[in-house]
């Protein structure tokens, strides 16, 4: 989902790829600034609009940590926001209560989103990291019938 806006700095570098500087240039008290500039009321702006600094994890990608990934199926999703609420890495991208997809720069493949998805079949499923998303969608399971009582 990189580039929700053209200025989006999400995942523009590998984690740990910051420029190394000497002791005289490191920050005071190991303080890391989130933004390069001051932002009035950052809580009322969207992440892609904020001037994140190179020391904020937003600009780093940890995609390489993942071995399995969630794939999202828009056709089944009911936009309940369960996955958005539960994701431990704020990697579900949702706007105006509508699910847009997954932030693969920060998703670590934990599978919580799949676990909490209430639809039948699920709107999110885990696949191998190398799996092509189109191929994954093509093999989506059918709706399960309720067992007869």
């Amino acid at each position: 989902m990189k580039g929700v806006l053209a200025t989006d700095k999400r995942g523009v570098r590998e984690l740990g790829a910051e420029e190394l500087v000497g002791w005289d240039e490191v920050t005071h008290g190991v303080v890391l600034n989130s933004f390069d500039l001051e932002v009035e009321n950052p809580a009322f702006s969207r992440p892609e609009e904020r001037p994140y600094s190179d020391f904020n994890s937003y600009t780093a990608t940890v995609a390489s940590w993942r071995v399995i990934k969630p794939v999202y199926n828009r056709d089944i999703c009911i936009d309940c926001q369960n996955c958005w609420v539960w994701c431990p890495d704020t990697s579900i991208i949702s706007r105006d209560k509508q699910m847009l997809g997954i932030d693969y720069d920060h998703c670590k493949g934990c599978g919580v989103c799949v676990e909490v998805c209430p639809t039948n079949p699920k709107s999110l499923l885990m696949f191998g990291e190398a799996e092509d998303p189109e191929a994954a969608l093509a093999q989506w399971p059918e709706k399960k019938k309720k067992a007869k009582k």
């Binding site: 005071h28 008290g29 190991v30 890391l32 600034n33 809580a43 020391f55």
Partner: protein
Amino acid sequence: MAEKMELQEVEVWDGNYAAAQALRQAQVDVVAAYPITPSTPIVETYGAFVANGYIDGEYVMVESEHAAMSGCVGAAAAGGRVATATSSQGFALMVEVLYQASGMRLPIVLTVVNRALASPLNVRGDHGDMYLGRDSGWIQLDAFNAQEAYDLTLMAFKIGEDINVRLPVMVHQDGFVTSHTAQNIHPLSDDEAYAFIGDYKPVEEMLDFSKPVTYGAQTEEDWHYEHKAKQHRALMDSTVVIDRVFEAFEKKTGRRYNRLETYMMEDAEVAVLALGSTVETSIVAAKQLREEEGLKVGVIAPRCFRPFPFEELREVLAGVKCVAALDRSCPMGAMGTLYNETCGALATIPAEQRPLVTNFIYGLGGRDFSVEEAKRIMREQKGHADVGHITTHIQQFSGLRGPKLGFFESKRS
């Protein structure tokens, strides 16, 4: 607004009460505290000040000293003036967070009433806790009496909060001998004291929402070393600000402080180097020896234990014939800290100018250190000076029952 307290020109306060009054006058924003003997009356008194309307700040009772210092770190990172008090085991429990506070450059003030470390459990004064803090990255100031505990606690805020320092500061005083002994104190008025310290100026505070910051970041081999080096540099350079604050305080009160205090050292042939209430005992002993026996004895005392006044010590010791470093903490497998620092300072001057250096371990767990024992040690140093070498073990135990205990001897050829 907090009520002001009317103080007499001379008050009768013990060291604990003096420290609590200084904290009140500093109008600390947050005190997170857990009581422990012998520093309990500091936070107890402070709590009473809060309850009686003399303090606007928050007073947070927590479940341990680790939590107390953690609360202080959080409040300081949020952007407030912060302080607490502790001793001994409580200090030991704080240690993990002491390193966090200094690494984050949070100017917290910790009043430490020195007490022995268990085991065996002991509530009396020695310097085991003070020495435990010596590598923690805090400035450590040492008060030898209650007046100094008051003065240094006020100055600790001004030193630590200086924009060029931004480091936490400990103010030490001896358990019971200083903390529980009432003495005449000349306090500043509330207005004078607060004006001397000034308003707190937050730096990179977490409650500035327009500029969010992360405190307590993880850094591995790529960043950690540079941050520690920068912190060490700040601690070393803090001497400039400490001297400046000492000068400003002298202008205000007439009371002079130095990072290395010296007494009768102008013509001293032998000297003792000590910390805490032992300094005053040693001064009495030295004066008596000068009057009664004509011995030229002086006393040296680091007011500032960290950063250690190496250059000043080297200067004052050049020309002295023998110096005894008195350590009120058992070094457990090494020489005492004051001995080590003294030798470190002296190693940088020509051998013929170096005094002989001996080390006494004394006063552990509150064992009394008497004027007579101080005089005995001073006479013994004079003996070493006269023959030109150390005739005893270099490290000895003073005031210990049982057979003489000593370690390490001079190698003379």
